[in-house]
């Protein structure tokens, strides 16, 4: 099979998938869990339980706070101890529900806890979407965008291709790889469900070439289950292969226009972990209260690499302690991959739906070197998968020229980190371009708002004339 890849830029970091042979283990529950109200993109969820309430595992404890928002369910059985702001991994205050876990676990009604594979796809699309929404499923590839919104494209746009993202192009991470090996069939059924919801479009499961076992297992499952129009596509190993726009480019040979959504070219991209969550939600009625997480790093001894099935709300520190503590040489702790993950400033923070790893990097691997002068080598521009010119954006940001930044498409930056990764002068390009992107997006939004206000004023004036 020919291997596909995206057409612009990209880098080739060493993949370091050290935890790839570690089977998924179930992480026990601590005495207390803290469930964040902001574990999805969009408005934070609103708590619907009160302090002192007894809640069962899988029970709804918070409802969506807006159109783009999601339900949150209790990951454990116990009593609500407090509903208060708590620091997340960046140290910012976020509303959390604190639950004291009781000894005995009682699951909420209607959840199928058996292991039997349910392969029939429900016909009723609306009911399926409702189930996905009610189970609080969000995209688990990083952005945590509510899945039911993404699977329900605006009228007039039609999905042509569902791309299942199994690229896992970030170095070190192996959680997607493990679920593709261990929960293969569930993922395929999940993909078939989403395919159905989207109106029977074709489905491509993209997997990078460095995971041959996963490719084999998924291909086998696809042919055994026999759903129509699902195929496994091998992708080249190249970062950021798993970026939404890059994946569409690689698989469909189409590019999403600046500012447009993937659906505008007929694409819907979902992570394999999301497919698993969709399967559990639709076929088992099980809300999204677990996810898989890799605990790894260059300074983590081989025997302490793990892939855990964790309940959301478990503090990161509990997971780290369970895995044997912070390795001695660790200099930085990261939630997510080394290219796009976020540094952990507060290890007491609770895990959220989108947590995919705890990564420990040593001083040598991660500390940034002193910034020196730009030698105009153009490596950043070669690496940028969006075809931008980071050196130019950097210069324009320093000059504060918002109009030129917009012209140079600062707003299209996907913050993948390729520019800074490849800069020989160690200029913190992305740090600054992220600010520049904010400036450009701000200008675009302000203009849109002004245009809207002007249009409304004109409309009001026209009506007043009548």
């Amino acid at each position: 099979m020919n291997k596909l890849t995206f057409s612009i830029g990209g880098v080739h970091p060493n993949d370091n998938k050290r935890a790839r042979e570690c089977a998924i283990e179930v992480l026990p529950l601590p005495k207390t869990v803290y469930v964040s109200m902001a574990q999805h993109l969009g408005a934070p969820a609103k708590p619907i339980v009160a302090v002192g309430d007894f809640i069962k595992t899988g029970q709804v404890i918070a409802e969506p706070g807006g159109f783009i928002s999601a339900f949150v369910h209790s990951p454990a059985t116990g009593t609500v101890k407090s509903i208060a702001p708590r620091k997340d991994l960046a140290g910012n205050n976020v509303m959390h529900i604190e639950i004291t876990v009781s000894e005995e676990e009682i699951w909420a009604d209607g959840i199928d806890l058996s292991d039997t594979l349910v392969t029939e796809i429900p016909e009723d699309k609306a009911a399926t979407l409702d189930k996905i929404k009610a189970c609080g499923v969000v995209g688990l590839g990083g952005a945590t965008f509510p899945t039911h919104v993404k699977l329900n494209p605006a009228p007039g746009s039609k999905a042509e291709c569902l791309i299942l993202n199994g690229a896992e192009c970030e170095p070190y991470l192996t959680s997607d790889y493990r679920i593709m090996l261990e929960r293969t069939k569930e993922i395929v059924v999940g993909a078939a469900i989403m395919q159905k919801v989207l109106g029977g479009c074709r489905c491509v499961i993209g997997i990078e070439e460095n995971k041959p076992e996963a490719i084999e297992a998924m291909s086998k499952a696809v042919s055994e289950l026999g759903y129509k129009d699902i195929k496994v596509q091998v992708l080249k190993k190249r970062y950021p292969q798993g970026g939404e726009k890059q994946l569409i480019d690689a698989v469909m040979k189409r590019q999403v226009k600046s500012g447009a959504l993937p659906i505008s070219v007929g694409a819907v991209v979902q992570n394999v972990a999301t497919a698993l969550a969709v399967y559990e939600a639709v076929q088992k009625n099980k809300p999204l209260i677990t996810n898989t997480l890799t605990i790894t790093g260059d300074c983590m001894p081989d025997n302490r690499q793990h892939n855990y099935l964790f309940r959301i709300g478990v503090p990161l520190s509990f997971i780290v302690d369970y895995a044997g503590g912070i390795p001695e040489q660790a200099a930085k702790m990261i939630s997510g991959g080394p290219m796009m993950g976020r540094a952990i400033a507060n290890l007491d923070a609770a895990t959220v739906k989108g947590s995919s790893s705890v990564l420990f990097l040593s001083e040598g691997a991660t500390r940034r070197k002193a910034e020196s002068s730009c030698i105009r080598c153009g490596r950043c521009a070669d690496a940028c998968p969006m075809g931008l010119e980071p050196f130019l954006l950097h210069r324009l940001y320093k000059a504060g020229d918002v109009a030129e930044l917009e012209k140079a498409s600062a707003q299209d930056c996907i913050e993948c980190g390729c520019c800074l990764y490849s800069c020989p002068a160690n200029i913190p390009l992305l740090d600054r371009i992220r600010q520049a992107k904010g400036m450009a997006l701000g200008a675009i939004k302000a203009r849109a708002a002004a245009a809207k206000a002007a249009a409304e004023a004109a409309k009001a004036a026209a009506e007043a004339k009548k």
Binding site: G91, N92, K332, A345, P428, R432, Q435
Partner: protein, 297 residues
Amino acid sequence: MTNTILWTIVILTVLGLLLSLILFWVAKKFKVEEDPRIDEVEKVMPGANCGGCGFAGCRAFADAAVHAPNLDNNYCPVGGNEVMKKVADILGYQVTEKAPMVAVVRCNGSCQNRPVVNEYDGDMSCRVKAALYSGDTGCAFGCLGCGDCVNACQFGAISMNPETGLPVVDETKCTACGACAKACPKHVIEIRNAGTTPRNTRRVYVSCVNKDKGGVARKACTAACIGCGKCAKVCKFDAITIQDNLCYIDYAKCKACGQCVFECPTGAIHAVNFEPKKVEPKPVQPVEPVKKEAANE
């Protein structure tokens, strides 16, 4: 030979005359009619183009001032009353005197008061740091210490104190243009009055912006306002309000009596330009020389 020289001179002279005529014509034709007072006003402006007045620069301010019906909405914080008086004289307006203002750093989270819990390794910019996380101390509200305000100041009035890691405002240089307050992503810097009256330079402010509950705030920083409300109770002028576990002194109402300074259990309220013996408060807050305190230690 002579011919060549002659021709050269003739041609160049004619060329010069021709071009000067063109220049003259262009200057006449494309002359922009402008109120001459704009130039006059611009001349008396400080010329820093800092944007503290809300306009793009000194000329933009002059243009606005000339076209405005009065000077109520146009005030140059840098030039102060003196410059505004000159502007008013040129334009024949009345000018309302404003009390002098100064930038105040409302954070006392020095390395000693506020232990650092992690090490920032990104671009040394407060904006970048604030977008990433709450900062390298337990306090999610206070100064980030990367010096965006120092870079924003056009008058060299702010510098970082390497001992405390906090910015220091030089009152003599500060023009209260507000560039630092705008540059600060945490809104730690506020433009406040430089004294209760133009003559009396005494003033009092809360040197903390932490909105966490008392215990949390105190744990992160020993100099934090814990929102206990003692200051509000003792204030005779109703100048102190408490919101989100943080007290705030309204400088319009404050008479700088200094009662709250004595009352504050954490030393979060700072008194500036008081005579040293009067301010000697609790042992928590060691006596500071006037100048240094103004600089917010």
